[in-house]
Subunit: 274 residues, 2 copies
């Protein structure tokens, strides 16, 4: 059983599903939001397919309500609409804290059959030409002081394009772009729900604009466009607008065949050294 499968293990409960968050997947003091989103997408897919609905996440929009910690997590999907080609659902994610049930985030999810949406490709966006993984900078070279040198980072083999790594050495480019390769450290395959985790796995793009400290996600919407082929995934982060400490972070993921398999936008809050 891969680390990833273990992290996304679900048990049926009265109201939906229960999982267990391990601080192997923490960043700083909070659990990685991407892991929670993958877990929520998986739980929603199970509830949907159990009711005869669709099983692949197509869109996933979440608002984050409170930071989650290690331990039990509860996932309660509700089907809002069962259509011929798509199922629409909502999922509530919470943790027990001192006997109370505290909501961590809520998401709206569209599910379908990704096999239906593979062809024909009428337009797509090609992966940027970057050096191969063996010529990129491994995350194991990151300075130990870096916030993201955490449990979560150790789950991944990340290779950053040397052209977009200046921020890690105290020289952010000011461009607001990060490019690189990513795969799980044990080389386990990523499934469609796991792409939500990948979309949020790089350090915040605001680091390339000089932001300091934690960059909490306000809202995240991810789209899965195809089942990823095994192997390295290529990830690019960009931003369109950074103002008053609020920015959008856009992510794109291509698989080892060069197919665009997922993209996302999140609204996040960042502090900038003045």
């Amino acid at each position: 059983m891969s680390e990833y499968s273990r992290a996304l293990h679900l048990r049926a409960s009265d109201d939906g599903w229960t999982g267990e968050l391990h601080d192997d997947w923490a960043i700083g003091e909070a659990m990685n939001g991407g892991l929670l989103m993958s877990l929520a997408a998986r739980a929603t897919a199970r509830t949907s397919t159990a009711a005869g609905g669709h099983g692949d996440p197509l869109s996933f929009s979440a608002v984050f309500l409170s930071p989650s910690g290690p331990g039990e997590v509860r996932l309660e999907p509700t089907i809002l609409r069962s259509g011929r080609s798509m199922t629409t659902a909502e999922v509530r994610v919470s943790q027990p804290v001192d006997g109370a049930d505290v909501e961590r985030f809520r998401a709206l999810v569209t599910l379908g059959d990704l096999g239906r949406y593979a062809d024909p490709v009428l337009k797509t966006t090609a992966a940027p030409a970057i050096p191969p993984p063996e010529e990129c900078v491994p995350s194991s070279d990151a300075p130990p002081s870096m916030m993201m040198n955490s449990g979560f980072l150790k789950r991944w083999d990340v290779r950053m394009d040397p052209a977009t790594i200046g921020w890690a050495l105290g020289r952010p480019s000011g461009t607001g772009e990060m490019r690189g390769w990513i795969r799980l450290i044990d080389e386990a395959d990523i499934d469609p729900a796991g792409l939500l985790l990948v979309l949020d796995a790089f350090p915040p793009v605001s680091f390339d604009l000089g932001s300091v400290g934690w960059v909490p996600t306000v809202e995240f919407t991810g789209y899965v466009r195809a089942v990823p082929a095994p192997g390295w995934l290529q990830l690019r982060l960009t931003t369109e607008h950074v103002a008053g400490g609020l920015l959008n972070e856009d992510a794109q993921v291509w698989d080892s065949t060069g197919a665009l398999v997922a993209h996302s936008r999140q609204l996040a809050s960042a502090r900038f050294a003045s």
Copy 2:
């Protein structure tokens, strides 16, 4: 009272707010989704401010469950989190049909104070250089047979960049881009909630790739980044990936000072002539 203010008029009800949809704002047989989103954002902002929360929509993520028609619409916001700088809410939108309450869409909304997020602008995306409105193609030149030659279209003064208008003459460029100017026909100012309406006001970008017929929105996420200045708004639609009849449509809106004031992505379903 402007047409826009009248369309967005809300009355307090037991569970939230009630509005009235007029087929002046219909496209084909359904109401325009953007109008519903603006109405829902406005209702959510009222519920939020009544509880001491924030009043400007920052993010708005909706899943569409059934097409809405003219008549009464019910908007029921629920506050999920009240923070110092942001309020997070959910809003349920429904219509009465034969005595039953039928849900039209559900959205997750983040609200804040846009005045806080105006400065400093550390990065932004400039509006494309297009001809001024008087040198662009007015929507009144659209062939009467066009689907969007509807009540909704008559609410707007739209001027399309001649370089991206080939699709309207049966010659889609295949690029997947539309650019142009837009303002309300009575030149009423657009408020932040109204930007959601603007983001969804152009014909579907898939028309420029040869799609035919209606292009239903599956999921829509819009972000309002600043209060728009009065005057013309510039709108650009693009797409990153079109496969198997599913596409993302990305919109950006700049105000008359050239500031990026809103952007969005939606997942939509399109049919292509083979």
